[in-house]
C-alpha cells in the first residue's frame, strides 16, 4: 500500500514541479500626455524550490537562472530587489507619480531585501554583504557596501515583506545613488532571462543602441524565494521613456517597428503568456485592433487597457501601429494634470558648508493623505532635526501640527554610517506642504572625496510612503466610466524624489604640499646661507703644478676661486 502511494505520489510531484515553473512576459505601452511614451518590459518566472528533497545537495534549474538564485539561497534571502534608475522621472510632465513599474527605486542603484535571520546579527550582516557583492559581480556594478556603515536597517516598515512575518526577517537597504545604467548592466539582465534576448519580447530589448537612447531608464529585478507552501517568483523589468514627437514636429503616431526597428518577434517557446498591452489614451486608434479591451484600475485611475496575445499564430513578424485620430501636428498641452501626489526635493545652499533641503509635497486630491517621508543621508550630512519647519505653500504660518511624529536614526560621524529620518506627515487636501530641513556638511577626510574633483556627491532619493492606499481592485463593476480617479485605489505605495547632487567643496590637496615645499625651501636656503657663512671661508687656493699637466683633457678644476672647507685645515694656502 505504501509503495503504491509513493508510486502515485512521484508523478504528481513531478507534475507539480513542472507546472509551478512558468514564464510570463509582457510589454506595456503607456502614452504620456507630454508626447512621450513609457515602455515597460516585464518578465515574470514562477518557480518551485530549486533544491530537491534528496539528501545530496543539489538543485535543478529549469527556467530560473542559477547564478541569481544560488547566492540568494545560500545567504538565506527571503526577498530581494535590485533597481537601477538613470535619468529623471518628471512627475509634472508625465502626470504620473513615478514609472509604470512600482518597484523601481529612486535615482541611481539600490539593493533592498529581507533576510531570514536566526537572531544572529553578525551572521545576517555577513550574508547581506556577501549577497550584495555577488549580485554586484553579476550586474557589473558595485552593489556591495564599501563599508558596513553604508547599510540602512530602518526601512523595514517602508518595504514590508510579501511573505513571512517581519519578526524573523531582517530588512536591509543599500542605496548607491551614484550608479548609472549602461549596456554592461543590460547584458547580465538579459542573460538571466530564459529567453536570453534571443526570442520573445526580450529580443526587442536586446538592442542597447535603441533602448539606451531613451530618456528615463529603469532596470531591476525582484525575487521572492520559494518557501514550504508557495512557489517563488522572480520578475525582471526594464522601463524607458521614448519621445514620440519627431524632432521637427509632427504627429505622435508610432508603431513597434518605429520604436524597436522590428515587428512582433518570434515567440519564446517556453513562455506561458506573452502579451502586448496598451494603456489607451483618448482618441487613440490601432491596427490590428486589439482582441481584448477592458477597464482596469491602474495607479488611481480607471483606464482602458488593450491587449494582444503575441503567442497567437500569425502574430509573428507583424507590426502594430498606433495613432491619434486627426492628429497632424502634436501640440504640447498648455496645462498638464498633475498626479494626485507629487514630491519635489531641492537643496538651497547659501554657503558651501550649510544648506536646506526643501521638500514640496503636492496633494492635488480632495482629501488629506497620511504618509511617511523618509530620507537617507551619508554621515557628513548633519541635519538640524529640531529646526525642521513645515508650512503650507501660500502662507508663512508654521504648520507643525501636520508632522505627527518622527523617527530619527542618527549616524556616527566620522565613521562611515548613515542617518535615516522618517517623518509621519499629513498632506492636506489640494495644497502643497513645504518641509524644510536645514543641514550642515561636515568635513570629509582626504580619502573620502570622490576621485572626480568638484563634481559633488549624490545623496539618495527621498521616499514618500503612502499609508492609506487600498490597492488596485481586480474585479470591477462594468458601470465605472473610464478616466474616473480615486487617488487611493493604487498599488503604488512609494513615491520617490529625484536624487540630489550635493556640492562638497573639494580642497585643493596640492595647496598643503605647496606650503610644505615652499617653507622647506625657505628653511633650506636660509639654513644653507647661515651654515655657509658660519663655517666657510673664501680664499685663493694654489694647486700644485704637476697635477694639472698629467691629466690633460679632463675636467679637472684648475686653480681659481674655490671653497675651502674648514678654513683652519688649509690655512697655509689662504691669502
Amino acid at each position: 500500500m505504501r509503495i503504491l502511494l509513493l508510486a502515485s505520489l512521484v508523478p504528481a510531484l513531478a507534475a507539480a514541479l513542472s507546472t509551478s515553473n512558468s514564464f510570463h512576459e509582457a510589454l506595456t505601452l503607456h502614452p504620456l500626455p507630454d508626447g512621450k511614451l513609457s515602455v515597460l518590459f516585464e518578465f515574470t518566472t514562477y518557480f518551485a524550490s530549486a533544491s530537491t528533497g534528496s539528501s545530496l545537495r543539489q538543485s535543478h534549474h529549469y527556467l530560473t537562472p542559477p547564478s541569481l538564485l544560488l547566492p540568494l539561497e545560500h545567504n538565506n534571502i527571503s526577498e530581494l530587489t535590485v533597481s537601477f534608475v538613470a535619468g529623471q522621472w518628471d512627475q509634472r510632465r508625465s502626470g504620473e507619480a513615478g514609472p509604470l513599474h512600482y518597484e523601481s527605486g529612486g535615482g541611481g542603484g539600490e539593493v533592498r531585501g529581507w533576510l531570514r535571520s536566526n537572531g544572529d546579527k553578525a551572521e545576517s550582516d555577513r550574508a547581506w554583504t556577501a549577497v550584495t557583492h555577488a549580485l554586484g559581480g553579476l550586474f557589473c556594478a558595485g552593489l556591495g557596501p564599501s563599508d558596513e556603515g553604508d547599510i540602512v536597517r530602518s526601512f523595514g516598515d517602508i518595504y514590508p515583506p510579501h511573505r513571512g512575518s517581519p519578526s524573523n526577517l531582517t530588512h536591509y537597504l543599500l542605496p548607491h545613488p551614484f550608479l548609472h545604467l549602461c549596456t554592461e548592466n543590460l547584458t547580465p539582465f538579459l542573460s538571466l532571462l530564459p529567453s536570453k534576448g534571443l526570442s520573445g519580447l526580450s529580443s526587442l530589448l536586446a538592442q542597447p543602441g535603441t533602448v539606451f537612447s531613451w530618456g528615463f531608464k529603469s532596470e531591476g529585478i525582484e525575487v521572492i524565494m520559494p518557501d514550504e507552501t508557495s512557489p517563488g517568483r522572480w520578475r525582471g523589468w526594464w522601463e524607458g521613456v521614448v519621445d514620440l514627437v519627431p524632432e521637427r514636429g509632427g504627429s505622435r503616431a508610432f508603431s513597434l517597428e518605429r520604436i524597436f526597428g522590428r515587428g512582433i518577434p518570434r515567440p519564446f517557446p517556453e513562455a506561458e503568456t506573452s502579451v502586448l498591452r496598451l494603456m489607451v489614451s483618448e482618441g487613440m486608434s490601432m491596427e490590428p485592433e486589439a482582441p481584448k479591451r477592458e477597464g482596469k484600475w491602474i495607479d488611481g485611475r480607471y483606464r482602458e487597457v488593450a491587449e494582444w496575445d503575441l503567442l497567437e499564430p500569425g502574430m509573428q513578424g507583424r507590426d502594430v501601429r498606433f495613432w491619434w485620430d486627426g492628429e497632424r501636428d502634436f501640440v504640447h498641452p498648455r496645462t498638464l494634470r498633475p498626479p494626485s501626489i507629487s514630491v519635489l526635493r531641492t537643496v538651497t545652499a547659501p554657503h558651501a558648508s550649510d544648506g536646506t533641503f526643501t521638500i514640496r509635497f503636492s496633494n492635488a486630491g480632495s482629501e488629506s493623505r497620511r504618509a511617511v517621508y523618509s530620507e537617507v543621508w551619508p554621515w557628513w550630512v548633519k541635519g538640524w532635526i529640531s529646526e525642521i519647519s513645515l508650512r503650507v505653500d501660500g502662507s508663512d504660518e508654521s504648520r507643525d501640527d501636520l508632522l505627527d511624529s518622527m523617527s530619527y536614526h542618527p549616524s556616527t560621524p566620522p565613521t562611515p554610517s548613515t542617518t535615516s529620518l522618517h517623518l509621519f506627515l499629513t498632506l492636506p487636501a489640494q495644497s502643497t506642504l513645504v518641509v524644510s530641513i536645514p543641514f550642515t556638511k561636515l568635513t570629509l577626510k582626504y580619502t573620502e572625496h570622490r576621485p572626480d574633483a568638484e563634481r559633488g556627491v549624490e545623496i539618495p532619493s527621498g521616499i514618500l510612503n503612502l499609508l492609506d492606499t487600498i490597492g488596485e481592485p481586480e474585479s470591477v463593476s462594468s458601470d465605472v466610466p473610464l478616466g474616473v480617479e480615486n487617488a487611493r485605489q493604487t498599488a503604488r505605495r512609494r513615491i520617490y524624489t529625484n536624487r540630489l547632487l550635493l556640492d562638497v567643496p573639494t580642497p585643493d590637496f596640492s595647496m598643503p604640499y605647496n606650503v610644505i615645499i615652499m617653507s622647506s625651501t625657505v628653511m633650506a636656503v636660509f639654513f644653507g646661507l647661515m651654515q655657509g657663512a658660519l663655517t666657510r671661508k673664501w680664499g685663493w687656493v694654489e694647486l700644485p703644478k704637476g697635477e694639472g699637466r698629467g691629466k690633460q683633457g679632463e675636467d679637472e678644476p684648475k686653480a681659481g676661486v674655490s671653497v675651502v672647507e674648514g678654513g683652519a685645515q688649509l690655512a697655509g694656502s689662504s691669502s
Binding site: A86, T129, A130, H133, A134, G136, G137, L138, C140, A141, G142, G144, F178, L179, H180, L181, C182, T183, E184, T187, P188, G197, A206, Q207, P208, G209, V211, F212, S213, H449, R450, P451, D452, A453, F509
Partner: protein, 452 residues
C-alpha cells in the same frame, strides 16, 4: 582535470582495496600511487601529465587585465583604446570570464555621447566596440590604484565575486594593458591618484613569488584496512569517515587516503581559500610520509602539509600606452615579463585622430597601430611577438615605442600550447636588436589564444 583524475584514482583504489588485500599491486599502479603520495602528482595514465607542482613552465590558460585609468568625456580615446583591445583579444579567443576590464568612466552612456551605448575607435564609426554584450568588471569609482594592485596580487576580501578576481595560476599567461595619462614612472588613476612604476613592479613580483599559505594537518588511525581520522585545512577540521585503505603495502606510507586528500584539498580551494593571508617566501614542502609511524594494527600520522600556491603567472606581456610609457616598465625585476610601451622618457603619446560627430579624439596612435596589426591575426596565427614588434614605426606612431625583453630569461623549453610549437627562445633568431631581439620571438598566440 587533475583533481578529478586523482579522485577517480582514489575511488578506484578504495573500491579495489577489499579485493587486493594481501596481494601485490601491479607495479604500474604501485608506481602511480607512490607518485601520487610523493606529492609530485604526475599520474602516468598513458600519457604523462605534468603535475600541479611542476606546472611552472606549462601554459594552459590566458588572462587579460585591461585598464583604462582616466575618466571624463574628453578622455574618450582611453576608453576606446581599452575597449578596442578588449574586442580584439575576445575575438582572438580569450573568453569574457578571463578578461578583467577596468573602465574608470562610462563614455558609452555619457550624456554627451551623441550615439548612446556605443563607443567607436575610428572616425567613420564603422564598428561599435560596446556592442550587445559587454562585461565591465570594475567601473567608475571602483577603478582605483588599490583595486588594481589587489587584483594583481589576488588579495581581496572573501566576498568579492569571482568576476572581479584574477584567478590565474602558474600556468597562466597574463596580458596587461594600461592606458591613461601618465608621466615619468607614473600613471594617473581617475583624477586624484597615481600608480608608480615601482608599485606595479612590486605587485608583479608578488604575483611571481610562490606563496605558501597554510599548513594542513591530518591525524588518523588505521585498524587493519579501515582508517579514521581528521583532516585540518587551515582552521577547519573535518572528521573523515571510516575509509577502507590498502594495508601492508611496503612501497606506501601508512595511510594512503589522508595525504592524498590533503594534497587535493588546497588545490581545489585555489581561488576560494582566503587569499588575505600575506604571501611569503616558500617553505620547502615536507614529504607527506615524513611523520608517519606504523604499528601492525594502527597507524598514527601527522602530516604538516604546505599548500603551495604557485606563482600567479607563467609569462606576462605588459603593454602600456601613455606619455613617457616606457618608464612604466623600467622598474620591473621579475622574470618572464615582456613589456612594451608607446613612448620613451620625455616623449608624449599622441592621439591618432578624432571624429567630428563624437567631437573628441577616438584612439591613441600607438594603440591604433597595435590593433591595426592584431586585426590581421587569426586564431590560428603563428605570428610571434617579434613580428608584432617589427611593425612598430616611430614615424607613424609619432613617438618611440619601447620593448623590454631582458626579463624573459628562462630555461629553454618548448611550448605545449596546441596552437603553437615555437621554441622559446628560438635557437638563432636575431630579432630587433642584439640586446632584446631573440627573446621577443614568443608567439603572440601565447597571450591571446585559448588553450587546452
Amino acid at each position: 582535470m587533475l583533481i578529478s583524475l586523482r579522485a577517480a584514482l582514489l575511488a578506484a583504489v578504495a573500491l579495489l582495496a577489499p579485493f587486493v588485500v594481501g596481494q601485490e599491486l601491479p607495479p604500474q599502479l604501485t608506481q602511480q600511487v607512490a607518485d601520487l603520495f610523493a606529492g609530485n602528482g604526475s599520474v602516468s595514465s598513458g600519457a604523462t601529465v605534468a603535475g600541479i607542482g611542476a606546472t611552472g613552465g606549462r601554459h594552459t590558460n590566458n588572462w587579460a587585465v585591461l585598464v583604462c585609468a582616466s575618466r571624463y568625456w574628453f578622455n574618450y580615446r582611453h576608453m576606446a583604446n581599452t575597449l578596442a583591445m578588449y574586442r580584439t583579444i575576445k575575438r582572438l579567443g580569450i573568453p569574457d570570464s578571463n578578461i578583467i576590464l577596468m573602465l574608470a568612466d562610462d563614455v558609452a552612456c555619457n550624456a554627451r555621447n551623441a550615439f548612446p551605448a556605443t563607443v567607436y575607435a575610428n572616425a567613420g564609426r564603422q564598428m561599435d566596440l560596446y556592442g550587445d554584450g559587454i562585461e565591465v568588471d570594475y567601473r567608475g569609482y571602483e577603478v582605483t590604484v588599490e583595486s588594481f594592485l589587489r587584483l594583481l596580487t589576488g588579495r581581496h576580501p572573501d566576498h568579492l565575486p569571482p568576476s572581479k578576481r584574477l584567478l590565474t595560476d602558474a600556468s597562466s599567461n597574463v596580458f596587461i594593458y594600461m592606458t591613461g595619462h601618465g608621466g615619468n614612472e607614473f600613471l594617473k588613476f581617475q583624477d586624484n591618484e597615481e600608480v608608480s612604476a615601482f608599485d606595479i613592479a612590486d605587485a608583479i613580483e608578488q604575483m611571481w613569488e610562490k606563496r605558501s599559505v597554510r599548513a594542513d594537518v591530518g591525524i588518523g588511525v588505521c585498524f587493519g584496512t579501515v582508517c579514521v581520522g581528521t583532516v585540518c585545512v587551515g582552521a577547519v577540521c573535518v572528521a573523515l569517515p571510516a575509509l577502507p585503505v590498502l594495508p601492508a603495502l611496503p612501497a606506501l606510507p601508512a595511510l594512503p587516503l589522508l595525504p592524498a586528500l590533503l594534497d587535493v584539498a588546497p588545490v581545489s580551494m585555489r581561488g576560494v581559500a582566503s587569499p588575505d593571508s600575506y604571501p611569503h617566501r616558500p617553505t620547502p614542502s615536507v614529504p607527506l610520509s615524513h611523520f608517519a609511524f606504523r604499528t601492525p594494527l594502527a597507524a598514527l600520522m601527522l602530516y604538516p602539509h604546505n599548500a603551495d600556491v604557485p606563482s600567479r603567472f607563467n609569462k606576462l606581456l605588459y603593454v602600456v600606452d601613455t606619455c613617457q610609457a616606457n618608464t612604466m616598465f623600467s622598474k620591473f625585476y621579475s622574470p618572464n615579463i615582456i613589456s612594451t610601451g608607446s613612448s620613451s622618457l620625455g616623449e608624449n603619446s599622441y592621439s591618432h585622430h578624432h571624429d567630428l560627430d563624437i567631437g573628441v579624439a577616438v584612439i591613441d596612435s600607438f594603440t591604433h597601430y597595435i590593433l591595426e596589426y592584431l586585426e590581421t591575426l587569426g586564431k590560428s596565427s603563428k605570428a610571434t611577438l617579434k613580428d608584432f614588434f617589427n611593425t612598430y614605426d616611430p614615424a607613424r606612431i609619432q613617438s618611440h615605442p619601447g620593448i623590454s625583453t631582458e626579463l624573459s630569461h628562462t630555461p629553454r623549453r618548448r611550448f605545449s600550447s596546441p596552437t603553437s610549437s615555437a621554441e622559446w627562445p628560438p635557437p638563432s633568431q636575431n630579432v630587433l636588436a642584439a640586446s632584446q631581439g631573440s627573446r621577443a620571438a614568443v608567439p603572440f598566440s601565447e597571450f591571446v589564444h585559448p588553450t587546452s
